[in-house]
């Protein structure tokens, strides 16, 4: 290797796209598209003015939250949401564990892996609200549809992350357990479970947070819980009550988040 070093040799970082025509063409094309897209948005100043006025009303309502006039509805909605969350998280995690194990390529044969990954992919394809609408149509209005929705969402979330965690475990520990003559289930409980248990508990708690938030959203499409109460109050222009509900949801979510992060920290 003979390399002569010339003084003053120019250097600039290599471009992401080598061809300058393509590089500049893409950039200019992108700008033109953006301008056209912005022009196509029909901005109606009168509509905005009216909207601002209503927004102002909502804001006024929101600074005066009314916890009491619909107290019973709020309490029953909150309890329903909490019950939905607890039940759905528990069922979801129980279903997620075998699917997560089946979705780990280092533990199972290829066909099992593909089936489990398919289930995970299906569950993750659709946003909760869409699933909720489907379940409301199938099972009618109410918390059952909500629970089913949250279970469905939890399975995709927990089993995917669990499977990925299992795929990253230390293979030597599993190998050592296999070398003792342990059965497959013993290999799982001694070699794999101790390595992923903190993560599994953490994921479950994290999913609990998410389910609580989601339970408020899916209530709007009729799947029960505090979301339904919130939706009703907004439709009745009772912004003070809506404000109270939102504040309670915020407090509840923050409280569970605090608890779950504290628990997760202790597990490490």
């Amino acid at each position: 290797m003979t390399q002569t070093t010339l003084p003053g040799r120019q250097w600039s970082p290599p471009n992401l796209i080598e061809n300058p025509w393509i590089r500049w063409g893409l950039l200019i094309g992108g700008i033109i598209y953006l301008v056209l897209a912005l022009l196509s948005v029909d901005v109606n100043p009168g509509r905005i003015a009216r909207g601002m006025e209503r927004g102002g009303q909502i804001l006024v309502g929101f600074v005066q939250p009314d916890f009491f006039s619909r107290r019973d509805n709020i309490i029953s909605g909150l309890i329903e949401s909490l019950v939905m969350t607890v039940v759905a998280t528990a069922i979801g995690v129980v279903i997620s564990v075998p699917i997560g194990i089946g979705g780990a390529r280092n533990l199972v044969p290829l066909p099992v892996y593909l089936v489990c990954r398919l289930v995970i992919a299906l569950s993750r394809t659709f946003q909760e609200v869409i699933i909720a609408i489907l379940f409301v149509v199938m099972l009618g209005f109410g918390p059952l549809a909500g629970v089913m929705t949250l279970v469905f969402g939890s399975v995709g979330f927990v089993s995917k992350l669990l499977a990925e965690n299992i795929e990253e475990i230390d293979a030597a520990q599993v190998e050592a357990i296999r070398a003792t003559g342990a059965s497959w289930m013993q290999m799982l409980t001694y070699g794999v479970l101790p390595q992923v248990l903190p993560r599994l508990v953490g994921l479950s708690l994290y999913r609990f947070d998410i389910n609580l938030r989601e339970s408020a959203v899916i209530g709007i499409v009729g799947a029960g819980g505090i979301g339904a109460t919130l939706n009703t109050s907004i439709q009745r222009y009772e912004y003070n009550t809506a404000s109270a509900i939102l504040l309670l949801i915020i407090a509840l979510v923050m409280a569970t988040e605090l608890v779950s992060s504290a628990v997760r920290q202790r597990l490490q």
């Binding site: 030597a172 190998e175 342990a182």
Partner: protein, 311 residues
């Protein structure tokens, strides 16, 4: 949702029940020809070949007999197939062809349930200890008995009292009697390897497969660990196959040395017979870390390479 679906509960219950059957009573077509005559070796390996799916040949027609109670060191450069050889014996790695017999039992022919039974007789000690880090010392030691208990016994950590007694005795013997409940990841390297040794011995094995037991230990601890393994093997009359990088350590502790080079045995003899020539044969001329004895042989070649790199 008319009639309740019974499929899932039935599967669940049958899994529960299957867990109660101890391994001993599981149906096994076991031609356990336990004709242990003094003549037959503890372990016999016949024309063992391993080819990885990538096409790399790790072992090529290896023949090897290990008699009862012998401590045999397996040396050779990285990638020579030492780890593969050890893992083919308990079939953590599936051999491509060839036969392996333990006490006349053909390991290479066993089905998965029989293999698990046979693995109880072959305990393994690992390079990075391979302890389950989040379990306690005692749980790690007791995991050596997993092949002997059923699933629910192991799940609830209800091992037979005799096993627990033996586990405490072993912990005492390896010098860790005072912390059975410490988590494995809280121990030092040497202590962890002692737990690994106790786990292996609780299997009540006939042979110890030891894979680089000292590679991550300091020289003094390495010697202590090797001495402990050899003492315990002698007390119990176990055969030992130990993969080891450190040639002086191998010479100090083994009765026989087998040198592996590119998947073939190139040396098989006593530690004292390991001459410069034998070492060159095992590790090759272009080895970057030649043994001290063979330095004179290697230096011209090394000087040549070094010179080329600099220019």
């Amino acid at each position: 949702m008319g009639s309740p679906n019974l499929g899932l509960p039935i599967v669940f219950v049958s899994v529960l029940l299957a867990g109660f059957v101890p391994n001993e009573f599981r149906p096994t077509a076991f031609g356990y020809a336990l004709a242990v005559t003094p003549l037959c070796p503890m372990l016999r390996i016949q024309s063992l070949t391993k080819r990885y799916p990538t096409g790399d040949i790790a072992l090529q027609s290896v023949n090897l007999d290990v008699p009862d109670g012998q401590v045999m060191a397996l040396i050779g450069p990285s990638g020579a197939g030492k780890s593969t050889l050890i893992r083919c014996i308990n079939r953590l790695v599936e051999p491509t062809s060839g036969q392996i017999y333990l006490n006349e039992l053909e390991l290479t022919r066993l089905g998965s349930a029989q293999l698990r039974r046979a693995r109880r007789r072959m305990a393994m000690i690992f390079q990075e200890y391979a302890l389950v880090e989040r379990l306690t010392v005692m749980e790690n030691v007791l995991s050596g008995q997993l092949g002997y208990v059923n699933f629910w016994q192991s799940w609830f950590r209800k091992f037979p009292q005799g096993t627990v007694d033996e586990a405490f005795r072993l912990l005492e013997r390896v010098g860790l009697g005072q912390f059975p409940d410490k988590r494995a990841d809280a121990l030092s390297g040497g202590q962890r390897q002692r737990v690994g040794i106790a786990r292996a011995l609780l299997q009540n094995p006939n042979i110890l497969l030891v894979d680089e037991p000292t590679a991550s230990l300091d020289p003094k601890t390495a010697r202590q660990i090797m001495r402990l393994i050899c003492e315990l093997a002698q007390e119990r009359g176990l055969s030992v196959i130990v993969n080891i990088h450190d040639v002086p350590l191998a010479q100090q502790f083994s009765q026989r040395i087998v040198g592996l080079q590119a998947g073939e045995i190139v040396y098989d003899g006593p530690p004292s017979g390991l001459t410069e020539r034998a070492l060159t044969q095992i590790y090759g001329e272009e080895d970057w870390n030649p043994e001290r004895e063979s330095e004179a042989d290697e230096s011209p070649a090394l000087a040549g390479t070094a010179g080329e790199r600099q220019s």
